[in-house]
């Protein structure tokens, strides 16, 4: 191995792979989010949903389907197109004990309300020395969809991930969506919940445990989606699917890739990441957002700080192109990471390692 090994006590990786029975049911991410909202609203009368189109229209992406009929307009509030206004109202309600779920039609529009999210929601608990908690969830689609241009396609994981006082979650599968949204709603702190429009219609197998109303996932814990020994690939949201496809391709070429679904951007599960890197000795980070100051950069730093001596190759960072998202389909494809990009990066990491004998 290269360099001096710095011994740090890191808990062993927890593999959250579920051995689903053959009778496992499949549900879409949309259904998972809808059922999580429904169950939490049913369990706690202080939970309410607000945002554009959430009521009469059943949600811009039909996430809130059926909730207006079930809970009424007092708890499913259609708002004007004023993110700064309704987000602030949500924060005020949370100050006073309600548990709002604020939906943004896209997280790009949360920029209109970022003052409330950061200066009010995220900072109030600290600034009040713990007197005030702000149990609020900001949720909606984040990152690129298809053909919606620069102002609807940005990924805000690293923006919100850099702010103390917030928890930032980004689900991939139906299990993630259901378990993490429930955790977010129950949490006493503000949670930014970054969904993905293109995942809403995707189906994933879920166990009976996941479908149980008491099911909840821990915030701050990553999931090892696929175990491997040659290279670690970290990803979140839609990119987890791409990473898993890349791992299949790599397996055909004799490279065993371990795929980590981050689930939680803040807090980041550094332990699981570092434990994996100490096993595989190589790391590829994948994200859809911009490369500079990204989530991958933070993961890279964590590994350099805690597991540098274990690395047998430079860290590979896959991210979106450093340009605002283009509209044309061919340009858009070039601006977003693809499966083949991940495969190439993993190969580079694996073939670039220097045998110890050669380095002598």
């Amino acid at each position: 191995m290269l360099g001096v090994i710095r011994h740090k006590s890191i808990r062993p990786a927890f593999s959250a792979i579920r051995h689903l029975s053959s009778a496992a049911k499949e549900i879409t991410v949309r259904e998972a989010l809808n059922s999580a909202l429904d169950e939490e609203m049913s369990a706690d009368p202080k939970v309410f949903l607000m945002g554009e189109e959430v009521g009469e229209y059943q949600g811009a992406y039909k996430i809130s389907k059926g909730l207006l009929d079930k809970y009424g307009p007092e708890r499913v509030l259609d708002t004007p197109i004023t993110e700064a206004g309704f987000t602030g109202i949500g924060v005020g309600a949370a100050y006073y004990g309600l548990r709002p779920v604020v939906e943004f039609m896209t997280f790009n529009f949360s920029m209109q309300a970022i003052d409330h999210i950061i200066n009010s929601a995220a900072k109030s608990n600290y600034m009040s020395a713990g007197q005030i908690s702000v149990p609020i969830v900001f949720r909606g689609p984040n990152g690129a969809a298809a053909g919606v241009g620069a102002q609807h396609s940005q990924c805000y994981a690293s923006w919100y991930g850099s702010c103390p006082g917030l928890k930032v979650l980004s689900p991939y599968s139906s299990e993630d969506a259901r378990g993490l949204l429930k955790a977010a709603i129950r949490d006493p702190d503000p949670v930014v919940f970054l969904e993905n429009e293109l995942l809403y219609g995707e189906s994933f197998p879920v166990s009976a445990e996941v479908l149980d109303s008491s099911f909840c996932l821990p915030i701050g814990k990553a999931k090892i989606e696929r175990e491997g020994k040659d290279v670690t690939i970290t990803a979140y949201s839609k990119m987890v699917g791409f990473a898993l496809k890349a791992a299949e391709t790599l397996a055909k070429e004799g490279i065993s890739a371990e795929v980590i679904n981050l689930r939680s951007i803040r807090p980041l599960d550094r332990s699981t990441i570092n434990t994996s890197v100490r096993k595989t000795n190589r790391l590829v980070t994948v994200e859809e957002g911009f490369p500079q100051h990204g989530v991958g950069a933070e993961i890279c730093t964590s590994v350099i700080e805690e597991s540098f001596g274990y690395l047998d190759a430079p860290v590979e960072r896959i991210a979106g192109a450093d340009v605002p998202m283009p509209y044309a389909a061919n340009l858009e494809r070039m601006a977003v990471p693809q499966v083949e990009d991940i495969v190439r990066a993993a190969k580079r990491a694996c073939y670039r390692s220097v045998p110890l004998a050669a380095s002598a």
């Binding site: 009368p45 202080k46 309410f48 007092e74 708002t79 004007p80 004023t82 700064a84 206004g85 309704f86 987000t87 602030g88 109202i89 949500g90 924060v91 005020g92 309600a93 949370a94 100050y95 006073y96 004990g97 309600l98 709002p100 003052d115 409330h116 200066n119 009010s120 600290y126 600034m127 009040s128 020395a129 007197q131 005030i132």
Partner: protein, 203 residues
């Protein structure tokens, strides 16, 4: 004056205050007194108050929420006023209108008529404001709707330490307001006239 007493306990900005030095001097928030801080990002509390009122309403509490903001911080006000009316939220909005958003005059900001102001008061008369808020409190709760009080006043000091208000306020105008319209001096005159205060009590 009660508020000032509470504020003193909460705004030392060191380990003795109730937030242990984590917040700026004037941003006190004693939760037990139902007092939430204003935000440094001007007037974000205008929307927070609507949410807080909605919470009280959901809990079926016979109460209302009061918020203060300056004429310069009214950017989200139209939306919040509309929203509170739609939600039938008992909010009292108090706009301290001192005529200026730092150096931008009121005439360049918003038309007062557009808001259907319920009550325009002398913001430098403590008794006038007290009676107006008392009436508004009853009205907001019984009628389940927002009330806007516009308190006309004047800023005799600078907006911040980095501002020089003499660049856009005539000095003699500032002096006139300080000498003739000072709310503390006027309140003192009133309590002295009623025999509740005198120079001996002052010393």
């Amino acid at each position: 004056m009660w508020q000032w007493g509470v504020a003193r306990k909460c705004s030392d900005a060191n380990k003795y205050d109730n937030v242990k030095g984590r917040q700026m001097l004037t941003h006190y928030r004693p939760k037990k007194h139902n007092y939430f801080t204003v935000a440094s990002t001007i007037a974000t509390q205008i929307s927070h108050v609507v949410g807080a009122t909605y919470s009280l309403k959901m809990d079926k509490k016979d109460a209302c929420v009061v918020t203060y903001f300056g004429d310069g911080g009214s950017r989200t006000f139209p939306c919040c006023l509309k929203f509170s009316a739609v939600l039938e939220a008992p909010v009292i909005f108090i706009c301290w209108n001192n005529g200026w958003a730092i150096s931008t005059p009121i005439s360049d900001q918003f038309p007062r008529k557009a808001y259907g102001v319920r009550s325009i008061r002398d913001g430098n008369d403590a008794l006038d404001i007290y009676s107006a808020i008392q009436a508004a409190h009853q009205m907001a709760i019984t009628e389940e709707r927002p009330i806007l009080i516009e308190a006309l006043t004047y800023r005799v000091g600078h907006h911040t330490a980095s501002d020089d208000s003499t660049k856009y306020h005539p000095v003699n105008e500032i002096k006139w307001w300080r000498l003739t319209r000072d709310p503390m001096a006027r309140f003192r005159k009133w309590i002295e006239k009623n025999g509740w205060w005198n120079d001996m009590a002052e010393s």
